[in-house]
């Protein structure tokens, strides 16, 4: 079956402009797909069909006047449930925020909404975005539309699955250590993590503030460029948002890669990487060479310490950020004899195992006597990784690696082994530590028919270069990345 909801946003936007389809018909298509499939997939925590249909109807009236139309107008969008939506429940996949209804919108959503975006719902995720499989959600796992017995990746697993299965045309996720790129890789979607500060974090419920970014899931590189263009830019509500010009990212998308300097990260093809993943990514590099890119070998010498540094820095920031869940102002409260007991009980009952683990890890790493050896040293390693990137980007315009060392794994396979789970993010974490943009694009399927993602990384604010390289590869490979489920 191929329905409206299976098309890309750029195709749909043209049809809307030509009056070939209505926004209501498009919203109905995505909503119907969710009704058919989401019982099996579990992508949505809070679907918003009424909101979507009302909005679409307003847009049809507006578009009928022939008024100017943004590239996001009328296109069904899903939001990861860590982005706040005024009046719509936002849970972070956590029992502690199960009934939380924010009184304000995240800036990324404000901008998309202002440009006519149609919200179809809030998506499932690992609790507080902590995880790589979506199994840490308090509301149950998400099933990968490519094989319902496998994980969709995480933490933005619901957004990834929704886009892969046509329940949304595109979606926002958040990426702190790979939480957009890794699920994009595992679900055959395009996943963008922009430069740190490119998109405002206002209304992104904080996990690790120096690493958190708002990213996108789309079914084409062009769509990612369109979404980013609407969301990006300075926001006075986020002091870390960057005051840099926002180009039209869709311009020059088809310029090709002739002369582009592509560095292949040699260390990213070693132990622990599936042979099929390595060979598909290498084949992708060969295509870039064939298209005229100048390919060489690159290295990030300190990348081998990135995972260790990340699992000190991110939990440390999380232990501080999550101190706000104390049962006083919002969220779950479990009564106690006094305020302190109330706080212990609320947090003991409200947080799941992975969130507790990271709060404990961060608390330990920041505690007296350990701070310098753990957190302090991790911050120094971060400096070395920034220097590695600076050196690599003197020689290359983009760096290539696999996005994830493996394809989708069975639900439950790594659930009891946190360290094995953390290794899923070994290739995505360095970009968060370095603040640089990176994108995952599909580059093939493994023997079991599961998607493989290729990661491209550019220097800070180099999104346009990323899009150009990713679009060239996408065009050349011409893959049909629709899960078999949709052929049924």
């Amino acid at each position: 079956m191929s329905e409206l909801c299976d098309l890309t946003a750029s195709e749909l936007s043209a049809k809307l402009r030509d009056g070939e389809i209505t926004a209501v018909a498009l919203a109905e298509s995505s909503l119907a797909r969710r009704e058919t499939l989401d019982e099996k997939v579990g992508a949505f925590l809070t679907p918003t069909p009424q909101v979507a249909l009302e909005r679409a109807s307003e847009l049809d009236t507006y578009l009928a006047t022939g008024a100017p139309q943004s590239g996001v107008a009328g296109i069904p969008l899903a939001l990861k449930d860590v982005l706040t939506t005024n009046g719509i429940r936002t849970t972070c996949g956590s029992k502690i925020l199960e009934t939380y209804v924010p009184p304000y919108d995240a800036t990324a959503w404000t901008r998309l909404s202002g440009a006519g975006s149609v919200l179809v719902g809030k998506t499932n995720c690992d609790e507080f975005a902590m995880g790589s499989s979506n199994e840490n959600s308090a509301f149950g796992p998400v099933h990968n539309p490519w094989d319902l017995d496998t994980v969709p990746g995480g933490s933005s697993g619901g957004s990834a699955a929704a886009v892969a299965a046509g329940m949304a045309v595109w979606a926002l996720g958040t990426d702190t250590g790979g939480s957009v790129r890794q699920p994009a890789s595992l679900t055959g979607t395009v996943g963008l993590k922009p430069t740190y500060g490119r998109v405002s974090r206002y209304g992104l419920i904080a996990f690790a503030s120096s690493l958190d970014t708002v990213g996108t899931f789309t079914r084409s590189v062009r769509d990612a460029a369109t979404l980013l263009g609407v969301m990006a830019g300075k926001d006075h509500r986020d002091a870390t948002s960057l005051d840099a010009d926002v180009p039209d990212y869709t311009e020059g998308l088809d310029a090709g890669v002739a002369g582009l300097r592509v560095g292949v990260l040699a260390e990213a093809f070693g132990e622990g990487v599936d042979a099929e993943v390595a060979s598909a990514v290498r084949a992708g590099v060969d295509r870039l060479t064939a298209l005229g890119a100048e390919v060489g070998e690159a290295t990030l010498p300190h990348a081998e310490y990135a995972l260790s540094a990340y699992y000190l820095i991110a939990p440390s920031e999380a232990s501080s950020n999550l101190a706000r869940y104390d049962g006083v102002r919002y969220g779950l409260r479990v009564e106690g004899d006094d305020s302190i007991e109330m706080m212990f009980r609320t947090r003991g009952e409200g947080f799941g195992p992975e969130v507790k683990r990271r709060i404990m890890l961060g608390t330990y790493a920041l505690s007296a006597g350990y701070y310098e050896a753990y957190y302090g040293q991790a911050q120094k390693v971060r400096t070395l990784i920034l220097q590695d990137y600076a050196a690599a980007f003197e020689r290359f315009d983009v760096l290539v690696s696999p996005t994830s060392p493996t394809t989708a794994f069975p639900i439950g396979a790594k659930a009891d082994d946190p360290m094995a789970m953390y290794l899923n993010d070994i290739f995505t974490i360095p970009a968060n530590l370095g603040g640089v943009p990176a994108i995952s694009v599909p580059c093939g399927l493994d023997g079991a028919g599961l998607p493989i993602g290729l990661q491209l990384t550019a220097k800070a604010l180099g999104e346009a270069t990323l899009f150009r390289a990713a679009a060239a590869l996408e065009h050349d490979l011409g893959l049909d990345m629709r899960p078999p489920l949709l052929a049924a």
């Binding site: 919002y330 991790a378 120094k380 920034l386």
Partner: protein, 97 residues
């Protein structure tokens, strides 16, 4: 490098109630994770400056223009308990007898 953790102490600092089972499991898991994390200590970085933010910015100010803020009732709308327009909590101090 084996790591030993005083789980009770850390849980107290973190204000998280943990069952005995959780503590035992947490101790084992954190020790494995920290042993891996301790790899950061292998890097000779004595004279390297720490990085707190990848794209540091200083003195970020905006115009000092008043804007509407979240209305009082909206700010209280998620309160587990409230009274007289304020958040209500269990006693936080002993009262004199």
């Amino acid at each position: 490098m084996p790591v030993e953790i005083d789980i009770d102490h850390v849980a107290k600092l973190a204000r998280v109630e943990l069952s005995d089972d959780e503590k035992a499991r947490m101790r084992d898991q954190l020790e494995v994770i920290l042993e891996h994390a301790a790899k950061v200590g292998e890097v000779a970085a004595g004279d390297v400056a720490p990085t707190a933010s990848p794209i540091p910015q200083v003195n970020v100010f905006r115009e000092d223009t008043p804007e509407p803020s979240i209305p009082h009732d909206a700010a209280l709308s998620n309160a587990p308990a409230e009274r007289d327009g304020r958040f209500l909590v269990p006693k936080i101090a002993e009262t004199g007898s």
